[in-house]
């Protein structure tokens, strides 16, 4: 077989394999969307779930998912940013750095159900947080932290060393250079990473089942005092998220329109994750353009 033929065959095989990957994704999306989208309505998206009768919605679960996402991001972003700045800008090769890196790697390979059970024992039981948004947010932080740290570190590493040299040649300290030169230049890529990880966190179920709980008590959307038990903002209330809801109704749901609710909720979950993924690139590209031309 000559070089030209073998190259043609190899190209064809690789092309076919990549197509299979794309096809699996498209088939899955199509299945979920075709089944789910017909059930979507404003009523479905805004009304509370019903346990025994048809016509329930996913309003509270949807709100819970976003609220948990915001809290988890608010906790994990500063920590991940600090860790990433340390690892990329300050760390020397040494024992401490190796330990931190290994810890991050192991943390990122922990199954999320293990993170959830750990969160249950420590936060729910030991710290008496109960099944609450707070427990869930901390568990999500543990789940999200290693990946977010890695993503921010990569963003910082992409900024050429020339920028750091420029800073120190002007008599700026390393800290000044990092804060005012490196970070702003890395913002587009950091934002992309944060939004992508938000999509991952939004769809997470296993880490939340035993931490944020599996019940969604009725909320009073007119009460925004976080200390009131019926307030949507109360961080100590149990909060079933959309992903947990899908898992729950499929394993023990008894409402008559079970499959419709499940299909609709799955479609919503997938659509939100898709929005996160597409907007991540858009926002990143837009910020980059703003930064480089203006």
């Amino acid at each position: 077989m000559n070089a030209k033929t073998s190259d043609k065959i190899a190209t064809g095989v690789i092309y076919a394999i990549s197509s299979i990957v794309a096809l699996i994704l498209i088939a899955m999306l199509a299945f979920i969307l075709v089944r789910g989208v017909p059930h979507l309505s404003w009523h479905f998206l805004t009304s509370p779930a019903k346990a025994f009768e048809a016509g329930g919605g996913i309003g509270i679960q949807l709100f819970n998912s976003f609220y948990l996402l915001v809290l988890a991001m608010a906790i994990s972003f500063p920590i991940a940013l600090g860790a990433a700045i340390y690892l990329n800008e300050y760390a020397h090769k040494g024992r401490f750095t190796t330990i931190v890196r290994t810890a991050i790697e192991i943390l990122s390979s922990l199954p999320s159900v293990v993170v959830g059970l750990f969160g249950f024992l420590l936060f729910v039981v030991k710290f008496h947080f109960g099944f609450s948004i707070l427990s869930g947010a901390v568990a999500l932080t543990i789940f999200n932290l290693p990946l977010l740290t890695r993503s921010i570190e990569t963003s910082l590493a992409q900024i050429p060393n020339l920028q750091r040299e420029a800073g120190s040649a002007l008599g700026l300290s390393r800290w000044e250079t990092v804060i005012h030169v490196i970070l702003p230049a890395a913002v587009p890529s950091i934002v992309t990473g944060v939004v992508l990880s938000a999509g991952r966190v939004f769809g997470e179920a296993a880490a939340l089942i035993y931490t944020a709980g599996q019940s969604a008590p009725a909320l009073n959307f007119g009460d925004w005092n976080p200390f009131n038990i019926a307030s949507p903002l109360n961080p100590m209330r149990p909060a079933e998220t959309l992903a947990v809801h899908i898992w729950k109704i499929n394993s023990e749901g008894i409402m008559p329109d079970l499959s419709a609710v499940s299909a609709g909720a799955s479609a919503v979950l997938i659509i939100v994750v898709l929005i996160f993924n597409f907007s991540a690139r858009k926002i990143g590209a837009k910020l980059h353009k703003k930064l480089t031309s203006a």
Partner: protein, 279 residues
């Protein structure tokens, strides 16, 4: 182009018994010395990259450092304002205004405002043209808008960039061409009003026109600044510099007036290098 030196084979000037090394010491009584080094040694790990780098640089002159890749010239230059801190170990003295700046007691951040540096590849910040120049100043407490405006205008004029960018100072510096960006970086260094400007092959990444604009800029700047430039371009060294130091294998082989280096080098090795026999 001040020194219009004709480059011709000069082997006829090299005496039979030429020394292997010849360092010309500038008489300090007649010349004002801006910076000098003594017993400078640079180690990368255990590797000695530079030894016996004893040079004095005259004030308001341009000194070129030439030599093949790996000869130690960039290593030497980057040691002068301690850019090698954390990268290499630098031993010896670097005397600036009677103070040894190669000691722990020196505030390197403050020192680098007096001894600025421009690199091979233009490295403007991802900020506006205006903020590129003012950033280091505002970090040290210059806040008067009027003062900053003046500094921006003066330094851009000194770097011969003002006419090209005066109407778009708020544009991102990343949108500038390579030559413009390099002149912006020079302006940014000048805004700190340094004494000495170190340039590490500042025009090797630029096209010939931009390169000659940078050269013209340097010749203008010589009236106010002491300039030390590493260059691979022999013509450039001959055109713009007053003194030239030739580096080889981590040592200074010959240091003299540029005119002498390029017409009557005392060491055969120097002659070999400038005639293009190696490097």
């Amino acid at each position: 182009m001040v020194n219009n030196i004709e480059l011709k084979p000069v082997s006829e000037f090299i005496p039979e018994n030429a020394p292997e090394r010849f360092i010309y010491d500038m008489p300090s009584e007649k010349h004002e010395i801006a910076l000098s080094t003594k017993n400078l040694q640079v180690y990368y790990g255990d590797n000695l990259a530079l030894s016996e780098g004893d040079l004095s640089f005259e004030r308001y002159k341009i000194t070129s450092l030439i030599g093949a890749s790996g000869s130690g010239k960039s290593t030497f230059l980057r040691s002068l304002n301690r850019m090698n801190d954390g990268v290499a170990t630098v031993k010896g003295n670097i005397m600036y205004r009677g103070v040894d700046i190669n000691t722990k007691a020196i505030d390197v951040y403050e020192m680098r405002r007096h001894i600025g540096m421009v690199f091979q590849r233009p490295n403007p910040f991802a900020k506006s043209i205006y903020n590129n120049i003012t950033f280091a100043l505002t970090q040290r407490g210059t806040t008067s808008k009027q003062e900053l405006d003046e500094i921006v205008e003066t330094s851009l004029k000194q770097a011969a960039l003002w006419d090209e960018v005066k109407d778009e100072l708020n544009k991102s510096a990343l949108a500038l061409s390579g030559g413009q960006a390099q002149r912006l970086v020079i302006a940014r260094a000048l805004a700190l009003k340094p004494d000495i400007l170190l340039l590490d092959e500042p025009s090797s990444a630029l096209d010939p026109i931009s390169s000659s604009q940078v050269e013209d800029t340097l010749l203008e700047l010589k009236n106010k600044y002491t300039i030390i430039i590493v260059t691979h371009n022999m013509q450039q060294a001959a055109r713009i510099s007053d003194y030239t130091a030739f580096f080889h294998m981590g040592k200074v082989i010959e240091y003299d007036l540029t005119r002498k280096i390029f017409t009557r080098p005392k060491v055969a090795l120097t002659n070999d290098y400038i005639s293009g026999n190696f490097g």
